[in-house]
Amino acid sequence: MESARTKIALIGSPNSGKSLLFNRLTGLNQKVANFPGITVDISSGKSLTGDSTEYLDFPGVYSLHTISAEEKVAVDTFHKALETGQLSAVVCVVDSTRLEKGLIFALQVIETCRRHSTPIVIAANMVDVLDQHSMQIDTQGLSAAFKVPVLAISGKTGMGLEHLPPCIAATSAPTEPFSMASDIIASDDSLTHRQAQQLANTYGPKGDLLINAQTRLDTFFLHSWFGGVSFFVIMYLLFQSIFTWAAPVMDAVETLIQFLASVVLPLVPAGMASDFTADALFGGIGAFLVFVPQIFVLTLVVGMLEDSGYLARAAVICHKPLRLFGLTGKSFIPMLSSVACAIPGIYAARTVDSPRKRWLTYLAIPLMPCSARLPVYSLLIAAFIPAQKTLGGLIGWQGLAMFGIYVFGIVCALLVTAAVSRSSVEMRSDLPFVLEMPPYRLPSWRPLLRNAWNRSKHFVTKAGKIIFIVTVVIWILGYFPNQGASLGDSWLGTMGQWIEPVFASFGLDWKYGVAILTSFLAREVFVGTLGTLFGIEGAEENFVSLSQQIQDSGLPIGSGVALLVFFAIALQCVSTLAVLARETGSWRLPTQLFISYSIFAYAAAFATFHLVEFFV
């Protein structure tokens, strides 16, 4: 049954600014639309104007003639939505600074909408950039040529957006096929291309100002020396920012938790309730909340790099080196996204059009240092590395250690793909490397902050639920049957002693063993579990930071480094496994990865412990 809500599809090429426009139109009222049985994410959002309009943001595609399975799914979904009459109208978004490319696609969409009697509006986006350079686009001329409305808008500044809803409401489906006075006799593709070129030349912005500015910046960022140096500086700053920008907020969160603990704990009746509040709530969940600011900063900085256009240049820089490891420059963006979280990384791997390279990218993603590892790394680094700075305060040892463990994860990922790509001859089909270079742009802060906020919120709500349940279960097992009198004699203590020999081989006692086991649900659970266990054992009156408690427990440095190595490799994330299964269509790859990375992690941690203990 057709919904009473007016559904409007936004469709456009990648880098046309379609998602920015979608954010403008819908604000925060977004969710992933439910299109059963497909593996593309189509976001849907209610109009901010409060009417019954719902906007659907289709994945960016270059053409309605598809070359990959993912594009085919997205385009088939679009066709199906048109055929079943689900769409009231289509808004085709084109980048007015690069009009010809957008018009080739627009011509295809106009023809498709005509066949399905669906109204269409062309949104010539990014006119704010044209304005800045005193350039213009003749939307009236284009409208007359297309016989469909063309509106000049800016998803970034909101310019012209007030005209979009009334224009959509007033327009009707195109009735006659697009034609131009043209003497060109050629194939369909060739004709579309010539028509788009002619239209862009007649009605589009004139001059090479924008492309010349882009080329000047490319000359710097892709220069043999400056390009390489700037790449490493940008990546290094990314990791330093996690500490330097997030540290004050993390301190504030920790102080707030301490303050709340000091206010709340005296109000709770002494005994079990007080112990639960102190150990499970403030100890377990509090220990994990401290790390949320770092996730926020990381997502913000990765988003900033992506929106500025730099990530595409980084993909060019990385293509040749990544090819040595069986990957492609296009693997760089999913791999870097995985530094925030493996799940968006897995989704981003759809942009790797070669099936074989995408499969290899999937092998690399779980080894990329994701933000869920961050709480574990931060905790262990804070416990083992002094908070001192060198080179006049420019470089912090803790930041350097974090950089080191991140590099270790990346190196592991590359070595795995290199080994597998050389030994596996499965799926030989390959697509070549063709990557559009988006123009350099100043990032738009609002959507970036919103994305970082959503990611942090998602982290707290999704991981928080698991952490809360695990924390409560761990607390109950650790508190009974002797009401917290002795952790070693509790149910958890008994269970821990069974598994102690497994982790004793790298110098860890049973508490860490239990924390590692629970962290197979999600890595960050490790911090909460350990916080709860130390809380029960210590029974301190005051809230003491977990890293301080680890320091006080006298854990050898070899064990600390072995733990870092273990967490860098092991695939301890149920969500990653589930999303991989969804994307690859079977549980085969996730199961193989889970088993092999667990064995690899254990062996590497074992070797690290003995090496460090031998040399230190």
Partner: protein, 74 residues
């Protein structure tokens, strides 16, 4: 001569694709602008064999040797 042989700052016209380029990919390259008869400029040829940057009208693409050497230019 192929697109990959173009030096930085020079231009040439696409003449044809080598036979090994799949039909579907040939269509996509045409849609992106690498169309027989089209003038393509090599705007950047980074060192160490990194993919080169080619300008097609108002858009710049990066192509590596495996595909750029399949597009013949004159």
């Amino acid at each position: 001569m192929t697109l990959w042989d173009l030096k930085q700052g020079t231009s040439a016209t696409v003449s044809q694709f080598k036979a090994s380029v799949e039909a579907s990919y040939r269509t996509r390259l045409c849609e992106l602008g690498f169309h027989p008869g089209e003038l393509i400029a090599c705007v950047m040829a980074p060192s160490l064999g990194a993919p080169k940057l080619y300008r097609v009208n108002d858009t710049v693409y990066s192509l590596d040797d495996s595909i750029a050497s399949m597009i013949e230019v004159a």
